[in-house]
Amino acid sequence: MSGGKDRPYRYWLTNIRGIGKKRKISLLQKLGSAEEIFRAEQEVLQKAAGEAAAGKIRESKKDWDILAEYEKLCRQKINFTCYGDTDYPKRLAEIPDAPFGLYYQGHLPSDRMPAVAVIGARACSEYGVYVAREFGSKLAEAGIQIISGLAMGIDGISQEAALAAGGESFGILGCGVDVCYPKCNRHLYEKCRRQGGIVSEYPPGTKPAAALFPPRNRIISGLSDLVVVIEAREKSGTLITVDMALEQGREVLAVPGRITDSLSRGCNSLFRQGAGVAVSPLDILEALSGPGYHINMEETLKKGRENVFSGMESIPIRELPAQEKQVYEQLEVLPRTPEELWQKTGMALTIQEVMGALVELCLKGFAEARPEGYCKKILATKKNKGIMVDD
């Protein structure tokens, strides 16, 4: 049953209020297509769906001009797919409460490529920022589609990193696909549309509301093979997504943090419940090789070991002036303040020398300035598609 000619009718069917998804599906099965439903006699509908539902369908026909409405949607460059269509994501169709209609801009995640949801706290720490970037870019380089909620914090950062690494990323919204929320992630929203997709089950123009977000979380996990959690507080929206992922039978991995950090509590409670441990993006690749993707483990592992967390040792730091080298040796992947670095160099340098060296290192591309301090800059590695797709 491809969309094609029936699609405008399916769009109408999706938007009938007061009829559940199950009844819509059974109607489709009984009558064959949405067009048939639209054209069906009232008695036929009453027999197929019951009196109340038939009444609702009749009501909805009154103020719905099939072709005009669908054309309006197309003019907005919004695509539409419906449960049962061939282009409806397979992974999503498997979940118990799959949305009946799905709106998207850009395109939908490919069923042939692995997809991973990277989720976590909005108010994340510098550690979270670092890990989200690392996982986002490394997974994207391995050809994995990154699914997330386009939110601030972990969600947005991992997607941003994935897109920057040349990968594809999909933002699942709790509002219409034509509404950018949160507004400050506008650039990410635009980039996702070009280099991936924006997906929502809510009709275009729907304003974001608190009640709409928990249901969209099931789509995030539903579109993915696997869910990675980076930093979550106890009782957070992230853990709601995890619950849904588990109901849907998705594997959940979490990234460990320090036990003293409140942002690690969520992940640590997941470990207690038996979640997988992801200490490197490679763990994700390993876990993914289960559900039918033949990942070229040997090559990926080899390349991965070289790149992941190794920073940029290959760059000739030998050529740096002595002071800069001294400071560089103390830099880590997590940010340190000039004062901490000064202490770590054994106070051999003055604070002003440390600060000067840091700016030089930033200019030369060896270090990076973050709100918490200065850290080693990890250079983006070359594209490394280590995944073969099982046809």
Partner: protein, 514 residues
């Protein structure tokens, strides 16, 4: 009989000469005052009449007309009481007219005939000296303030009777001119204030404060509560270079106009340190009133204006700072004219990075990114751009608190600051500038030439840090001060790098999303 006495009026911090004319003539007895007078000046009529009577002078039953000229400038204040009274005495031929020739006088009168202190004695006496007067009569309490001006005799007298005596024996007055020992006053300032030795850790902010003090660069400190930002700010006066006499006169003039000079304190010779509460109004900050008086911004001229809890200030109040920071003066326009007060102060701000104060320590801080943004954006971009040095205060470790005191004291820091001060004095001799921070773009080009290496570095910094033209010059100016602290004639790469480090801090917070 016509008679005239010279006095002085104040407009902003400047003084102008005023002629008080009195005519007593036959006619219906009365007392008229004209000359664009404010209400307190008009009330002088009653004070003068009663004071004269109580000092033992009978006012003739004649028609007395007083004109205060120039008659087209609005007059305010009570300093015209004495000249009006003396002009009347002169017109009654109680004091000889010749005695008034090279004399200028100001003072308020009490009903008992005593002379009371007035505002603005210092600028008036300076003006008198510039206009070639030989002596001045001022109220006793203002004597020392006036005596600071050299080359003119200033007599501090107690009551109207004394003034009459003085004038009657003007060739050899029975009074001594007021004297001040400038050296002694300047020595007094060396009293001990809080010392930098009290501060544990905070290497970065200490260094930033040192540079700020040496070159008068505006400083913004960001850090969690209790990290010692306020402590450091309070210790900045202890490492500021002492004021020169010229600077001291500038500051004292402002204080004199504001009526804030005390009798004991003839001159402000310690750099002011003002720390207004964040509820301060726009007018209190910039100066205000119908005839504007200097605000906190001008009162901290040549000194430190410390704005603690910067984000708690009203935004409109903070935005007022913008133009004075650039121009080093405040211009206040009123219907009666535009008033200009100098405002070349070192602005030191202190603030938390987020509402709870602990960002980026996520164990303490659970503020949402949105809340942090809203908090930080209370400081507008243009204002932030005007801060030369942004330094982070970090939470102090217990290890540092426990350390036996090995922190540098204010004296050692001051020695380095003085070195930089001498370099700057040499550099700016005869230009009217005094600190590196005062340089404009043209002077930066002239006094801070960069080598090819350094220029290349600045180009890289300009593009990588997304600098404004102003920020670009500020980095060079701060680097100049850092080089001065080392007595280095050339600005080296390391100086530029350190200066840039203090500007990177702000983009770390405000540019988090870039």
């Amino acid at each position: 009989m016509y008679s005239t006495v010279i006095s002085g009026g104040i407009r902003g911090i400047y003084s102008y000469l005023v002629q008080v004319e009195v005519d007593t003539a036959q006619g219906l007895p009365g007392f008229e005052m004209v000359g664009y007078l404010g209400s307190e000046v008009k009330e002088a009529k009653e004070r003068v009449r009663v004071a004269l009577k109580n000092a033992g002078f009978a006012i003739p039953a004649e028609r007395i007309t007083v004109n205060i000229s120039p008659a087209d400038i609005p007059k305010e204040g009570t300093a015209y009481d004495l000249p009006v009274a003396v002009a009347i005495l002169s017109s009654m031929e109680i004091v000889p007219r010749e005695s008034l020739g090279h004399l200028l006088m100001i003072g308020e009168l009490g009903l008992n005939g005593e002379l009371r202190p007035v505002r603005g004695v210092l600028p008036v006496v300076r003006k008198a000296k510039a206009a070639g007067f030989k002596s001045c009569i001022v109220p006793k309490e203002n004597g020392k303030e006036g005596a600071v001006v050299e080359g003119i005799e200033v007599y501090g007298l107690g009551c109207l009777q004394e003034v009459a005596d003085f004038l009657r024996q003007y060739k050899a007055p029975p009074f001594e001119p007021a004297q001040v020992d400038l050296e002694k006053i300047f020595r007094q300032q060396e009293e001990k204030g809080p010392d930098f030795a009290d501060i544990q850790g905070q290497k970065e902010v200490r260094r930033a404060a040192e540079i700020a003090a040496a070159g008068f660069h505006h400083l913004l400190m960001i850090g969690p509560p209790g990290s010692g930002k306020t402590m450091i700010a309070k210790r900045i006066p202890s490492i500021l270079p002492p004021m020169s006499l010229e600077e001291s006169l500038e500051v004292s003039t402002i204080y004199s106009v504001a009526g804030l000079l005390k009798e004991k304190q003839s001159l402000v010779c310690k750099r002011p340190f003002l720390s207004p509460h964040h509820t301060i109004s726009e007018h209190a900050l910039a100066g205000g009133g119908k005839i504007p008086r200097p605000g906190v911004l001008s009162l901290s001229h040549r000194g430190v204006l410390f704005l603690d809890e910067l984000t708690e200030f009203k935004r409109t109040t903070l935005e007022i700072l913008r133009q004075p920071i650039e121009d080093k003066e405040v211009q206040i326009a009123r219907s009666s004219g535009t008033f200009t007060y100098p405002a070349s102060c070192l602005i030191v701000g202190a603030m938390n990075p987020c509402p709870c104060g602990y960002y980026p320590d996520r164990n303490h801080c659970s503020c949402s990114p949105w809340e942090i943004d809203r908090y930080l954006h209370k400081i507008s971009g243009p204002l932030l751009d005007r801060m030369d040095i942004v330094a982070e205060a970090k939470k102090v470790d217990i290890a540092e608190l426990g350390n036996e005191n090995d922190a540098e004291g204010s004296r050692e820091i001051l020695e380095r600051v003085m070195r930089a001060r001498r370099m700057q004095q040499k550099r700016f001799q005869g230009t009217g500038l005094s600190f590196n921070a005062d340089m404009g773009p043209a002077q930066v080009r002239k006094y801070c030439p960069l080598g090819t290496q350094q220029q290349k570095m600045m180009q890289q910094l300009f593009s990588s840090m997304n600098l404004s033209a102003r920020a670009y010059h500020k980095i060079i100016k701060v680097a100049r001060t850092i080089a001065d602290l080392e007595e280095s004639g050339e600005i080296e790469r390391r100086h530029l790098a350190e200066a840039a480090c203090y500007r990177r801090t702000d983009s770390k917070y405000w540019g988090r999303h870039r």
